[in-house]
Amino acid sequence: MIEEGKALFLQIAEQIEDSILDGSLEEESKAPSTNELAAFYRINPATAAKGVAMLTDKGVLYKRRGIGMFVQSGARELLLGERRSAFADRYIDPLLAEARTLGLGADDLAALLRERAAVAASASTTEGNPA
């Protein structure tokens, strides 16, 4: 859950972002408190607070006085945009680097990608109706 070599507060912020992106933390709902995050991830509360503060600065969370932190309306759109623009750097470049080592060209990759996507799609349609 927690990786080495990367600032903890960034990782905490990313975990909260992930829950907003996958919908488990909805807009205008209450975000976990600093102490809840500290207890769950077994980290220092000040570090958790720094992660929350980063998301507040970014406009992902906002504070309701005396109640706690809440997810800002439009936060999901904001994060989707950010993650989509980072997608190529984060996933495609390493994919291309490994493909090059293996002697696979862009066309081979595209074919592989379509093949795998078809498998994944058929698996998700059969899911739920075991016939």
Binding site: F9, A39, R42
Partner: protein, 301 residues
Amino acid sequence: MTAVIEVNNLSKHYKDKRALDNVSLSLEGDAIYGLLGRNGAGKTTLMSILTAQNFATSGDVKVFGEHPYENARVLSRICFVRESQKYPDDATPRHAFKAASLFFTNWDQELAEQLIKEFQLPMKQTIKKLSRGQLSAVGVIIGLASRADITFFDEPYLGLDAVARQIFYDRLLEDYSEHPRTIILSSHLIDEVANLIERVIVIDDGKILLNEETDAVRDRAVTVVGDSAEVDAWVASREVLHRDQLGRVASVTVLGALSSEERAQVTASGLDLAPVSLQQLIVRLTQKASAESGAENQEVR
């Protein structure tokens, strides 16, 4: 925030050994500090001087802005859980907790009872007959339940198994979240405490080697692995902490965080990057410091 502990040019000499060498530190309140270093590095000496259980050879310490020596105002707000705490021969844990509850004004009896149950501590046996782990549990319970403004834990885990240590870490975080105060945790189990401590202080050979926010240190070093010629070319302009070689493959740990462009360059040139844990970083920094001071001594001779 204001400093609760201030140390200025502190030195301590025992006969021919120099335990602390001109140490200066300033610690702000309401934080968990990790005091790390090898055996004999000076950790216990520093803590015992701060708690007025030992005298400085030179230099000055202030706790809550005052000198701690024979100062009841200061000492009643400090709890020092020593690794080798002595108790009277016929004392039971119940006696020890009773004494602590009278001394510490913030003592929480309910928390103490809860911890006694969790650590399964036999209350009627004399402390002398307790196992090493049970003796550590007595110290941990006093340290947590005293809720002192400053609590020092000097290797509080000796003899505690993994489950009991986890109870300690969890209860420490939980109680600290509800009652923020200053905790100074001395430990060799760096990986176990790395996520708990807000600031890391490393002492080596009586000197402060590192005093920084823990999160800032997490990406301080990186290990580059790959073809040794490529690796060496890449690390040439950097400070190397450690180097291992197996055949043509080299694994070199360098100091300094990498930008994302640098990371991309490294992976593009076919090298692998591996993160360096806080424990690995401290081991490497300490080894480097002792190698350098060893070299200096050689030159003097």
